[in-house]
């Protein structure tokens, strides 16, 4: 287990490498996951979801930047472009559903959606 605090502190002085980006993306993803699991408000969950997708994008771009492939292979960037597109589509659909439900039920809280018991 070479994962020591001292190691981290030492690496802060080094030039940023792939692992710094990956740890950052993992942390961001975890924060998003936390939000998804704890938020009661559907808009709040949607925002946490966007954080998770951003973490994926950070991963993709970092992997492209430091990855094994030639820099000409832009797979990672293309993937990131598509993920951004999808995030926009998902946000539009999600907000449409949330607003339509809000009109009927006057709530945006996901756990007050209780006609359907779990």
């Amino acid at each position: 287990m070479g994962f020591m605090l001292g190691d981290i502190l030492e690496s802060l002085g080094q030039p940023v490498g792939l692992r710094h980006c990956l740890v950052f993306a993992a942390l961001l993803f975890a924060v998003g996951l936390y939000g998804v699991l704890t938020r009661r408000n559907a808009i709040g969950i949607l925002m946490a979801l966007e954080l998770m997708l951003n973490a994926v994008n950070a991963n993709l771009v970092a992997f492209w930047r430091y990855g094994p492939g030639p820099r000409e292979a832009l797979n990672g960037q293309v993937f990131a472009v598509f993920v951004i597109t999808m995030a926009a589509a998902e946000a539009a659909v999600g907000l449409a559903i949330i607003l339509a439900l809000f009109r009927l039920r006057r709530t945006v809280n996901a756990d007050e959606v209780n006609l359907l018991k779990g």
């Binding site: 998003g32 949607l46 979801l49 292979a73 006609l115």
Partner: protein, 507 residues
């Protein structure tokens, strides 16, 4: 382009329905659904002809007939052509059984409902085609997003929108988790092409490295690789309602409009399984050494079957019951997925089971749709005395129940038979799993036939005869024919599926 015919039809259908939505308000949507059905029917016939042609030509020649910029990420082999024809068939059946629904129940935006069904089917077809992580993910996403919207189509019904919200939130989170896994896999190997990934993950066939500069070989035991693959398993598990990730399924199925539920129970599930075949069975299954995802999926498979069937016994709402039943069916198909040691049996078994599942589930749901169009409810007491009110529906249900429970001589029986055979093969020897599967099939007989008991032996409050709508009636008839007629066709289908699977193995 010739072999992309089903996709082109589906895309055209979706765009056509979108344009039709401008002109068609309220009445008349049923007619559009009927036209859609006929287009799909013609497409299926043409697709089958193309399939025969493609098998005749062989995979290399079909590949050469396709422009390179498409063939790079889109497979044009016979198996994918077969799956896209199946997607076309699903779309046609869905058009048919939602005919009365769009005509009479759905007051607003009926043509958009049809457009969403066509686009979701397009997504299913594209999942079957994809041989690239990016394309595969976006095809799945197309299916999912159309699914969220389909379940929310009754926008004045809180239940429908709540189902849509639940489906959306859970589906989007699972997509994000799957994407995270895909980003890890991409990053570790540097490739998104599934064929390259197959060579790069695992002990690997090193011959591929020469021409693929810039791809890193990774061991399938690398913790990062395992994390990536498990993230993908979790994401796909949500899509097919595998057990710890199934909790959305009954609620969404219950709340969504019944025709949407019927479509959701076959479409996205088929897409999920096709993705599982492509990703887990054909890509992340190193030919030597342990398969990283096999052990967890093995246990979850047994759990999925058992929980689905046991909980289904306690349901009194038919839609909820069929939801748990569809969870159980995912479990059965997963048996074949984990028996990948005998891939030459497992792949055809999955193909067979999916065909049978589509037919019998569409049929069973069409019965529910036919009744819910008239009664407006789906609890089991609505079915009391149905055999007197509509013998057609009642007897059709019995056939579908037999097929769902796996009683011979139906398509469902043969599907189960092939799945269990794959598990019992000498190279796999998952005897206990097959025993669990058979025990589950026995349990399932009880709840399917409990409904039949209500239909035949319980006096209903209402006795007036039911006039089954044209669309639902035809959908039932077609799936009935499929469930029964497929049986003599099975030897031929199996030989086809086996040859297609061999093509895939070499793919």
């Amino acid at each position: 382009m010739l072999f992309l015919f089903p996709e082109l039809i589906l895309c055209g259908l979706g765009l056509g329905a979108t344009v039709a939505a401008l002109f068609c308000r309220g009445r008349g949507a049923g007619r559009w659904a009927l036209y859609g059905f006929f287009v799909c029917l013609a497409g299926v016939v043409t697709g089958l002809c193309l399939l025969a042609y493609a098998i005749d030509l062989g995979p290399e020649a079909t590949g050469q007939l396709t422009p390179e910029f498409i063939a790079r990420t889109f497979a044009v082999d016979p198996l994918s052509l077969f799956f896209s024809t199946l997607a076309l068939a699903v779309c046609g059946l869905a058009m048919l059984f939602s005919m009365e629904f769009v005509e009479e129940v759905l007051e607003e935006h009926p043509a958009e409902f049809l457009a969403l069904i066509a686009f979701a089917s397009l997504g299913i077809a594209c999942v079957a085609r994809s041989r690239d992580l990016i394309t595969l993910f976006f095809s799945l996403e197309l299916v999912s997003i159309s699914g969220y919207l389909l379940s929310g189509m009754l926008r004045r019904e809180p239940r429908s929108l709540e189902a849509a919200l639940k489906y959306f939130l859970i589906g989007a989170v699972s997509s994000a988790i799957m994407l995270f896994g895909m980003s890890l896999i991409y990053g570790l190997t540097g490739a998104t092409d599934l064929r390259v990934l197959r060579d790069a993950v695992g002990e690997g066939h090193l011959h591929a490295v020469g021409q693929l500069a810039g791809v890193r070989m990774v061991s399938s035991q690398d913790p990062m690789v395992i994390t990536g693959i498990l993230c993908i398993v979790v994401g796909l598990g949500f899509k097919i309602a595998m057990v710890p990730f199934h909790m959305w399924c009954p609620d969404v199925y219950e709340g969504a409009p019944t025709p949407a539920t019927a479509f959701l129970s076959v479409g996205p599930k088929a897409a999920g399984f096709v993705a599982i075949v492509r990703l887990l069975m054909l890509t992340f299954a190193p030919s030597s050494g342990p398969v990283p995802w096999a052990q967890p999926v093995l246990w979850l498979c047994a759990l999925t079957m058992t929980l689905g069937n046991v909980v289904a016994c306690r349901q009194t709402n038919l839609k909820r019951m069929l939801a748990y039943s569809s969870i159980a069916h995912s479990g059965y198909i997963l048996i074949a997925v984990v028996s990948l040691g005998s891939a030459d049996l497992a792949l055809p078994a999955i193909v067979m089971y999916l065909i049978a599942y589509v037919l019998m589930n569409v049929g069973a749901f069409s019965v529910v749709i036919a009744l819910s169009n008239i009664e407006g409810r789906e609890d089991i007491h609505a079915y009391n005395g149905l055999s007197k009110r509509s013998p057609y529906l009642a007897y059709a249900w019995v056939i579908f129940a037999m097929s769902l429970a796996g009683v011979p001589p139906t398509a469902g029986f043969l599907g189960k038979l092939y799945v269990f055979m794959a598990a019992l093969d000498d190279r796999v020897r998952l005897y206990w799993l097959a025993v669990v599967g058979v025990a589950n099939a026995v349990i399932s007989v009880w709840y399917y036939f409990r409904v039949a008991r209500h239909m035949f032996f319980v006096e209903g409050v209402r006795t007036e005869p039911i006039r089954v709508g044209r669309g639902a009636g035809w959908a039932i008839g077609l799936s009935l024919a499929g469930t029964l007629v497929l049986v003599p066709l099975f030897p031929w289908l199996i030989s086809f599926a086996t040859s297609a699977a061999q093509v895939l193995g070499a793919w």
